[in-house]
């Protein structure tokens, strides 16, 4: 060994740690600066535009009555199906593209990077709600001008809030699957299996026996979410089912996923 070297100190006292908002800004930018992210967002926009345009034209041509919520919920429905894929990509692309190595080298406090990604998911949920309201206003406004007597402004703030909450929960679910699997195709497949197949399977299996059906309702997050979306979350049992199924589908995978991310050896 060489002769003893005096401990050379790196003075870090004056260095400001990376503030959380800056990490959020970076993660937000990452959500749209790749082709996958950009085209996913563009696809959502184009789809919403096409469907809303179709509804608008069909309404005006057929002179049928239209509600504000027709426009708003169509936009909301389309985005809530595709936006969780963005939440998945936020997490999994760091692994499949191995950029997590760089992200966690620049910010070794990994929980802050994960937190920033979660915050970006929440920002998108809020943006969707705003977009949904705006599209509702524009669509209904055009109908109001053309056929005022057939158009109804049934705006209800409660429903917008309910939509936001369910959108936030769906984003969290996508994020949870993504962080648990850390693999883009697998997480997307599992997400859509969850979305389309799990409720059906739970329902069909539940039909076999009454007690089984009652039990499985506690596992059906989508069904438990419905009263919230309709703003009819009245009974204690409905609340309990939402909490229990939400715990099973969101909290457990998210906790497992975050634990994995924080501990994983990043290659």
């Amino acid at each position: 060994m060489s002769t003893t070297v005096p401990e050379l100190h790196l003075d870090v006292a004056d260095t400001v740690p990376i503030p959380f908002w800056r990490q959020v800004r970076v993660e937000f930018r990452k959500s749209y600066d790749t082709r996958a992210g950009f085209w996913l967002l563009a696809t959502i926009g184009i789809l919403v535009g096409l469907v809303e345009g179709f509804i608008l034209i069909a309404t005006l041509v057929q002179e049928s009555p239209v509600l504000w919520s027709d426009f708003a919920y169509t936009a909301g429905g389309i985005t809530s199906l595709l936006l969780p894929v963005l939440a998945i990509l936020l997490v999994t692309s760091e692994w499949s593209q191995r950029s997590a190595m760089v992200s966690f080298t620049l910010e070794p406090r990994r929980s802050r990077v994960v937190g920033a990604k979660l915050a970006v998911s929440a920002i998108y949920a809020v943006l969707t709600m705003v977009a949904m309201l705006v599209i509702g206003v524009v669509g209904t406004g055009i109908c109001e001008l053309v056929q005022p007597e057939l158009t109804e402004w049934d705006f209800d703030a409660k429903l917008a809030i309910a939509f936001l909450v369910s959108q936030l929960l769906t984003m969290a679910l996508g994020f949870a699957f993504g962080s648990l699997l850390l693999n883009t195709p697998a997480a997307i497949v599992v997400f859509f299996i969850y979305w389309y197949i799990v409720p059906t399977v739970l329902f069909v299996v539940g039909e076999l026996r009454d007690w089984l059906g009652d039990l499985l309702e506690w596992f059906n997050f989508q069904a438990s979410l419905q009263p919230l979306v309709d703003w009819e979350l009245n009974t204690g049992e409905e609340w309990a089912k939402l909490l229990v199924s939400g715990f099973i589908w969101i909290v457990l995978p998210l906790a497992g996923g975050i634990y994995r991310i924080l501990r994983a050896e990043v290659k």
Partner: protein, 303 residues
């Protein structure tokens, strides 16, 4: 500046890094040499907190890397130039890094210029980059935050000869300004021209360390010199008389003596030397011998 202290890392029963200790000092380039799979990358990954150590620790300037605030401003890291999203442009990758570290966009342009990536190249996506271009981008990324410590894993990999020379100059200048540089390589000739200090690692263990001269001196066995002169017979006679074994080889002589002894013999015999070379094991032989699997235990036992 970088202090590796009895570091070990095992994966199940496999020991990737085995009780490794060394220091890297400011103002010096430290070369971390070893064949593929010797434990260089694992050691560097532990340094920057990507891999947890099984035993021992690494500090940079007295800190655990994970406790350095905004570490990109103090330690520049390049572990794998391909570990970036292939769909981002070079400029975008640097922009993300600069934003994270809180640096102005102008820093991105400066770094692109420093590493010689043109405006057009910076707008191409990473998947269309050659390995050499990725390395340049990775070096630019490591230098973004104007760090005082650089940790580079195989930075010369994929660079063309002109690129390697460029990098050598860049790192030398960086160390001359007081920076600490640790770079790894499995190619000796990439490192021996630039490293002030070399750490040789094989099978997870450090087998030798020091500067070039001390490495050679510590591992010198029997002296061997190759010499050619205007009168080989006279020189051979002089050397034999002073007790050195001499065998003719090609146009010259193969002598069991140090170059100094041969030089003195030539002086005494008034013979003009036209070529005088140390024929003992060169650094490359030493490197291969120390890091090869078959001889590892023998060397470990006799050292």
């Amino acid at each position: 500046m970088i202090q590796v202290d009895h570091l070990s890392k095992s994966y199940g029963g496999f020991t990737a890094v085995d009780d490794v200790s060394f220091t890297c000092q400011p103002g010096r380039v430290t070369g971390f040499l070893g064949p593929n799979g010797a434990g260089k990358t694992t050691t560097m990954r532990v340094m920057v907190g990507l891999t947890p150590a099984t035993r021992g620790q690494v500090t940079i300037g007295g800190h655990d890397y994970r406790h350095i605030p905004n570490p990109g401003r103090h330690v520049g890291v390049l572990l794998d130039a391909s570990a970036q999203h292939a769909g981002r442009t070079g400029r975008e990758i640097l922009t993300l890094g600069a934003t994270t570290m809180g640096l102005p966009q102008s820093r991105v342009d400066q770094m692109l210029e420093l590493v010689g990536l043109s405006k057009a190249e910076s707008k191409r996506r990473l998947r269309n980059y050659s390995l050499g271009m990725k390395q340049r981008l990775g070096i630019a990324h490591a230098l973004l935050g104007d760090p005082s410590v650089l940790i580079l894993d195989e930075p010369a990999n994929g660079l063309d000869p002109a690129g390697i020379r460029w990098m050598r100059g860049l790192l030398k200048g960086y160390a001359d300004r007081g920076g600490t540089v640790l770079l790894s390589s499995h190619l000796l000739h990439e490192v021996e021209l630039i490293a002030d200090e070399m750490i040789l690692i094989g099978h997870g263990r450090i087998v030798a360390q020091g500067d070039r001269t001390s490495l050679m001196a510590a591992h010198r066995r029997s002296a061997l010199t190759l010499a050619t002169s205007l009168d080989n017979d006279k020189l051979a006679a002089e050397l034999t008389a002073t007790g050195h074994a001499v065998t003719p080889m090609g146009a010259g002589l193969h002598i069991a003596a140090t170059p100094e002894e041969v030089g003195r013999a030539a002086l005494a015999a008034h013979v003009v030397l036209t070529d005088l070379r140390d024929g003992g094991a060169n650094l490359e032989d030493l490197f291969l011998e120390l890091t090869s699997s078959t001889q590892r235990d023998e060397i470990g036992a006799t050292a």
